[in-house]
Amino acid sequence: MRKMVKQMGFVFNVDLCFGCMACEIACRNENQTDSTVRWRKVSRLIDDTFLSVSCNHCNSPECFRVCPENAFTKRGDGIVHINSDLCTGCGLCIEACPYGAPQYDPVTQKASKCHMCYPRQDRGLPPACVESCSTEALTFVDLNTFCDKKMVGTIPGFPDTRLTNPSIAFYPAKERNRYFLK
């Protein structure tokens, strides 16, 4: 795939997330998605940290590759977009995505997914999820230019990244002392 001018991506700081789910519901508030459609999901990991994941606007998106209708496009800023006019609701992208990003919408009978709030970004606003994150655990940057040595490509509990090269980066959690009752 050609090199994007930009590659907008999410940065998730595990240490600052306490699983409040504001990002998930802010996404629904902004996009007024159906109750069964979760473009963003917050989940609890085995070590009692949290993970907030949506579409990762991958460098090699599987959805893009498997879609028989060529409904997916990748914009110049790296956002992977689905053209719902072309989607037939076949569900191949839903099966192919390692992150569960495309969601079947029972109302429209098509797949839909996070578009990184590009209408907001086009107006200079951050995605709704990023705006809602009170501790700035979830931010977004241009991964083509942003670089930080402390940042890592994946964390335990995140799906294998080798297939699609997702546009997400992480800051891992710091160590903690926990004294439980015997």
């Binding site: 306490f18 409040c20 519901i25 508030n29 439980f180 009752l181």
Partner: protein, 674 residues
């Protein structure tokens, strides 16, 4: 798209500034108000779900009447008919008993906007009646704070970001006050230590640098043990102790002679070296914030626990700002006249005062009333059949009542047992003025959309019902029905409020929320001397009361804790699909010990029971829960408060409800019982 300014009115620390986006009179979405310095343009998950709250398929649209009560046989009636029926009953009761004492209300915190004191104002306006007093939530702690410090107000919570250490005792802001977390984590990112002390490994505990698990209700032991170590190592502020405390000699002698560290470790379940680690935080880190959660005072030792924690915090606080380093609650409302709440009753020729009933024991006490008995009950901003306790007493009270009216947005458990249910407006459909019991901001709440179907605000209902009564019986009520919401708001902005919040008129608040001026040095507090923990009655071997032995050892070995869940507040928000994704089943969390002892596996259907009854739930086994603790989160449909056992207070002081003093047992669900 039009944009309006709001304040979220839920019973929550944050009282967030909020914006609504309106198109053709419809709420399209919401956002946080960036001009509000506390929530800073963000909302919580519940806040972001407000479009589903306003346009919820379960929302009540019209006044409805049920005959007979509890049958589910509802019919739509007009507001006119509802007002007529209620006014008829009030007037008839007045004639029958010669006063309005047979009419009363039960109201609490469903919406904490100032204009929702219209319920109190409405009843005050008809003269002596029956009213609840007290506060089930936080008053034990409030009284303990006032006793220690002489006042209630703490520093702006935003200042937690500047602390070098933050010690949270029994609060879980990651669930109940999410906007505080950013200030806490800002401090932590700059190197501050976050310490959480809690029986439950909460989301906040998971975020902490140091989590100290403690046996429930034993916080006072830990605080006194830590204070003893602090004094032994002479790492307390001796000058402060000399000049600004009372009863130092008594306290010093007491911890020396009577606080046994082995006993502290045994009671709290915490190892001595961990207590030493806590002491090192209190003696080194400066400034250090202590935050005492409401959970600490939901037990019989609540007040003493808080007094002990205050003492530890103050001894360890070297900043000279003795009372400013402990956070509990901020009584922002004290700045205001709260005209509706304090609306003056007209005099009655014979009955001098309204009848007051402790809200924590409302049903039982109300059932006992005679001359006259309570006959009409108005329930607003509350769902007692889910959030109160002693439902049997409620049942017998309801049997005696001739008319029950509930005002709500949804068909709650309490509404289901009412004769008439009136649809309430959401905060997008009414004007209001809001302060917080945590941060120091003042917000106005604008009316952004027309009422949902026939919904009305509590104030509008008061205006119309009181007018109806006066039409029937001139002079029956002295409620100023002609007064508009904006007039009531204007009356709250007294000269001193305007000065405190730097506002000149309502328009200033429409521009954005205003921050209360921080008092640099309050003369009354600087002359006040801190009251160190006091043992109380001499001669008792220990001042902390243990749980009843019979409960612990015999029938009900587990202590029941019933905290809030992330996506609800009490019984509110249950019908929002965005917030309730999984098929909702009541979940009970139990320890591996409890599971093993009772042969319970993860996912089993179980029953939780005690002398009050039982509830069914799905078992979730937690590896982090103390052995003898069972945890069920607050919810409305299958209320866990059914199992809360109320024990009458020994002293007559007002106190919070001791929600965490109940004992239960657990076993696998038995079909034949079900």
């Amino acid at each position: 798209m039009e944009i309006y300014r709001h304040a979220c009115p839920r019973n929550c620390f944050s009282t967030c500034g909020m914006l609504s986006y309106i198109e053709d009179g419809k709420l399209m979405k919401v956002s946080g108000d960036a001009k509000h310095g506390y929530n800073q343009g963000r909302l919580c998950a519940k806040g972001y779900a407000y479009t589903q709250y306003v346009y919820n398929p379960y929302r009540l649209k019209h006044p409805i009447k049920q005959t007979p009560r509890g049958s589910g046989n509802w019919e739509r009636i007009s507001w006119e008919e509802a007002y007529d029926t209620i006014a008829d009953k009030i007037l008839e009761l007045n004639k029958r008993y010669g006063s309005n004492l047979a009419s009363g209300y039960n109201k609490f915190s469903g919406n904490i906007g100032l204009l929702h004191y219209a319920v109190e104002g409405m009843f005050n306006s008809i003269g002596p009646h029956t009213k609840p007093i007290g506060n089930p939530c936080l008053i034990t702690g409030e009284q303990a704070m006032r006793k220690s410090f002489g006042q209630m107000n703490s520093m702006m919570p935003e200042k937690m970001a500047k602390m070098n250490a933050i010690v949270i005792w029994g609060a879980n802001p990651a669930v109940t006050n999410v906007h505080q977390m950013k200030f806490i984590l800002q401090a932590r990112q700059k190197g501050a230590k976050l310490i959480v002390i809690d029986p439950v490994f909460t989301r906040t505990a998971a975020t902490a640098d140091i989590f100290i698990q403690i046996n429930p209700g034993t916080d006072g032991w830990l605080a006194l043990g830590a204070a003893k170590l602090l004094i032994q190592s002479e790492s307390y502020d001796q000058e402060f102790v000399r000049n600004q405390t009372v009863n130092w000699e008594e306290f010093h002698q007491y911890v020396n002679e009577q606080v046994d560290l082995h006993e502290v470790c045994r009671q709290t379940g915490i190892a001595l070296d961990v207590i030493c680690e806590l002491v090192s935080i209190y003696s080194m880190a400066e400034p250090c914030a202590t935050w005492i959660g409401f959970g600490i005072q939901r037990n019989v030792n609540g007040g003493k626990n808080i007094s002990a924690i205050n003492t530890l915090a103050v001894l360890g606080c070297h900043s000279g700002q003795e009372n400013r380093c402990v956070y509990y609650s901020h009584s922002g409302i004290d700045d205001f006249p709260v005209n509706l709440l304090n609306h003056e009753e007209p005099e009655h020729p014979i009955v001098l005062h309204s009848r007051e009933i402790d809200i924590n024991n409302f049903a039982e006490n109300a059932s006992k009333l005679v001359d006259p008995p309570l006959k009409l009950l108005w329930i607003a901003l509350r769902n007692p059949l889910s959030q109160d306790q002693d439902f049997q007493a409620w049942e017998s009270l309801m049997n005696e009542l001739e008319l029950i009216v509930t005002v709500d947005l949804f068909m709650t458990k309490s509404a289901e047992m009412s004769d008439i249910v009136l649809p309430a407006a959401s905060h997008f459909e009414e004007m209001d003025l809001n302060v917080s019991y945590w941060h120091h901001w003042l917000s106005i709440n604008e009316k952004a959309i027309p009422p949902y179907y026939e919904a009305k605000s509590d104030l509008q209902i008061a205006r119309e019902l009181m007018k109806k009564l006066n039409d029937r019986s001139p002079g029956f009520s002295n409620f100023p029905s002609e007064r508009e919401p904006i007039d009531w708001i204007r009356m709250e902005l007294t000269p001193s409020v305007k000065k405190l919040y730097s506002v000149e008129c309502i328009d200033d608040l429409l521009e954005g929320p205003r921050l209360r001026t921080e008092e640099v040095s309050n003369s009354s507090s600087s002359s006040f001397k801190f009251r160190l923990f006091s043992q109380g009655n001499k001669g008792t071997s220990t001042h902390f009361i243990n749980r009843r032995k019979t409960d612990v050892e015999e029938s009900y070995p587990f202590q029941l804790l019933t905290p809030q869940s992330l996506l609800k507040i009490h019984s509110q928000y249950e019908t929002m699909p965005w917030l309730n994704q999984a098929a909702e089943q009541e979940v009970v969390e139990l320890s591996e010990y409890a599971a093993e002892k009772n042969g319970i596996m993860e996912g089993d259907k179980v029953e939780l029971f005690n002398q009050n009854g039982k509830i069914a739930a799905i078992a979730r086994i937690s590896r982090f829960l103390p052995q003898k603790v069972i945890l069920v989160k607050q919810a409305g449909k299958n209320p866990i408060n059914r199992l809360i056992v109320h024990r009458p207070q020994e002293n007559k002081e007002k106190s919070s409800m001791n929600f965490y003093d109940s004992s239960v047992n657990i076993r696998k669900w038995r079909e034949k019982n079900g």
